[in-house]
Symmetry: C2
Subunit: 506 residues, 2 copies
Amino acid sequence: MYHEYQDRIRHPLLRERIQSAAAAAALIEDGMTVGMSGFTRAGDAKAVPLALAERARQDPLQITLMTGASLGSDVDKVLTEAGVLARRMPFQSDATLRAAINRGDVMFMDQHLSETVELLRTGQIAPIDVAIVEAVAILDSGAIVPTTSVGNSASFAILADKVIVEINLAQPLALEGLHDIFIPKHRPQREPIPLMTPRDRIGTSAIMIPPEKIAAIVITERSDSASTILPADEDTAAIAAHLVAFFEREVALGRLTERLLPIQAGIGTIANAVMMGFIDSPFRHLSMYSEVLQDSTFDLFDAGKLDFASGSSITLSAAKGEQVFGDIGRYKDRLVLRPQEVSNHPEVVRRLGIIAINTALEADIYGNVNSTHVGGTHMMNGIGGSGDFARNAYLAVFATKSVAKGGKISSIVPMVSHVDHNDHDVDIIVTEIGLADLRGLAPRERAQAIIENCVAEPYRQMLREYVAEANRRGGHTPHVLEQALSWHVRYGATGSMLPEQGSQVS
Amino acid sequence: MYHEYQDRIRHPLLRERIQSAAAAAALIEDGMTVGMSGFTRAGDAKAVPLALAERARQDPLQITLMTGASLGSDVDKVLTEAGVLARRMPFQSDATLRAAINRGDVMFMDQHLSETVELLRTGQIAPIDVAIVEAVAILDSGAIVPTTSVGNSASFAILADKVIVEINLAQPLALEGLHDIFIPKHRPQREPIPLMTPRDRIGTSAIMIPPEKIAAIVITERSDSASTILPADEDTAAIAAHLVAFFEREVALGRLTERLLPIQAGIGTIANAVMMGFIDSPFRHLSMYSEVLQDSTFDLFDAGKLDFASGSSITLSAAKGEQVFGDIGRYKDRLVLRPQEVSNHPEVVRRLGIIAINTALEADIYGNVNSTHVGGTHMMNGIGGSGDFARNAYLAVFATKSVAKGGKISSIVPMVSHVDHNDHDVDIIVTEIGLADLRGLAPRERAQAIIENCVAEPYRQMLREYVAEANRRGGHTPHVLEQALSWHVRYGATGSMLPEQGSQVS
């Protein structure tokens, strides 16, 4: 065993700590707070959490689980089914866990992704007992080299009493050198984050902790779960085309150059499709300062459009993952992975002047955006990094298809049923119908721009009628309060936001 | 005239540009964008805008008016009555203008106060044609020394084609040296803001512009309008006491020291009363990193509690103003006034770890806060800096009395009718009833904490019943959507959120 993992565990004494996943999981006790690696399915701990669930089936226990963001490998599903999760933060995207959250069985803290470790560092939430971090290697010094994400792993390991490392042999050793670990100092000694371009390296290439904190090492060889993004369709291609045309106008007006400004793109099919739209655009020497790097990042590299990409994780489809991770050396000097506290930090986002492109679940006529709550009540995934980026961006874009469920839901409503991003923070709304540029507009003007540019019939006419009545009642942000949420109520009652045949629109 | 103002206008050639307010106002043409000094009634241009209104009565014209924040001297009132304001940003607090905004006659852009000049600098909103800046002096170099506020004046002057300076003889020359003007570079050359403590000086003591841009100088001698804050009453004293007790617990838990962290306090009676609460607290060597410095700042200096205060303006009651400005030298080495872009900058707020204390118009059971819109539709003043601070703070506190209008309005409602700060950004809700610590809580727990700690009867029981029904329906953030805004609707219909005698609570 000693020699077998020499390249992966370079601190010789630490090789003695190799254990089974079950033995490592035994370090976790009922009531503990556990911090795990994993960000958008990338670089998650895969063996110990499943062993913990296995154990919990005989010997029930509950923990508070913190991660970077969402996990793959059905970890959230299995832990939920085993009843292990009492509390969960700051993000998730698993159907089983989501149902438990919405039943009130798991207490979920939906947080801005840059903020979780600030709360931990200042003792404002319960401290981490055990951190579980997936790694490609442990260095001579005991420092940990993460895999396909950094997420919150570095601060979790630094702040935890004990650290369990999962060395994943399926993750190429060539990932070493990709990471840049910078940890802000405690206040009041905090200094500026010395990052001035997306490519700046400001930290160390591994997570520096005292090797004696590494209580167990588990060897795994299971790949990251592949992303499930769909290829661009007619609607997402139209959204991308509207945005490219918008940026062309901005360049023509002298507000941006052909390099634009560093781009952040949210996770998912729409954001990926929007980024694909840049392949046939006139822009060049683009850069990304984002949290998750998806397939489109590598397509843009291959198309010669993108010079550099900074992120906190790499989450790819199965086919793209095979291509990229099989030949990561080809991309390595154009990539860096950072802690999500740095990739999403308001200081850096504001300084660089990010173009932030995120997805809305729904938006309202004034440009407030709901990113999280279906029908105002049921959590989908979480706000993720969208707030970190949108608030501090040079330009905050929110994209959505104009309708969902075959037209039974309008993504543009009189009033959103939950607000994650308010009108102060939303510059552009874009759907397949068109784009509303809200910069410098007052609410009544915003409503006009959104309704006329972004909404499909019959909802456009319904919104015109709503606004006409609201304006008659007056106000800076006119509403007909007793009807403001009526579309959602109607959908709950009838399965459609459309009025029933023959009834009055209200 | 040349010699008369030697101490105030030290660039000799510029003394030739002294004109009447009417002559200076003639530089402003119909359709122009004008940027004026003034932040929370402090340091506003007082003569030229009134002369412009006078002229507009004969010769109608309309402008876009930007300021730092709210103005005194009835400037917004007079300009509104003269029909001069087509567009207005980023904040106001005048009753006449407010009514015009709510009628839809003036297009008002309610903005985070740190962001207005970023939009200007990047050409995303219409450029400034003329800036009007109140000053205590113009230096040999032509640089402008502001008076009791910096606000957006520096960037307005730098970005404008022409600058009009109002030299106000009523503002003591001893204000010179109080200001620290730092202007971030354009992107992508932007560097970190090198500010690491509230007392750091990082810029120049005056606004540096080419003297040839100064197109006119007007001499005035009208004082700033006094603030109208009320003394602490039983309720605001109770709010202050709850907060002081909270901070004592935080110190006991080792999360804070007796110095706490730099404090920001919003404008108004409640925030001022909360700050007064620190006078009899055990905390020492406090500091402020805030936007407006009110009476309480100087009371805390005089009580030996406060070491240093950084702000963007000084707005005092008549009596306190006489005391402070009559003897400003006594406080000067403990004060600095900065551009609001710096006083409110997300980068600095996050770095310093601000304790942000702001006022809520209403909050809901999940901790979403409405700071701006009465009944969800009618603008009160604007979001001001509360978003800049709350989002990036170490701790975001929102304070409100539990009821308004003699108990006919509950300040805690099932769902706020407008969201300025969502649950992600709100750590503490405090009313005269008590304090809810929301850190680390999931929405269902937040509702419990707020209802049981912050709400007076009969609203507490009404909210318990709402939550019980909402929980039956399920969701991460349970609501009864068709009743969520019913308290506001009822208030609109009956003048009270209380159900009519004999009717069912709903």
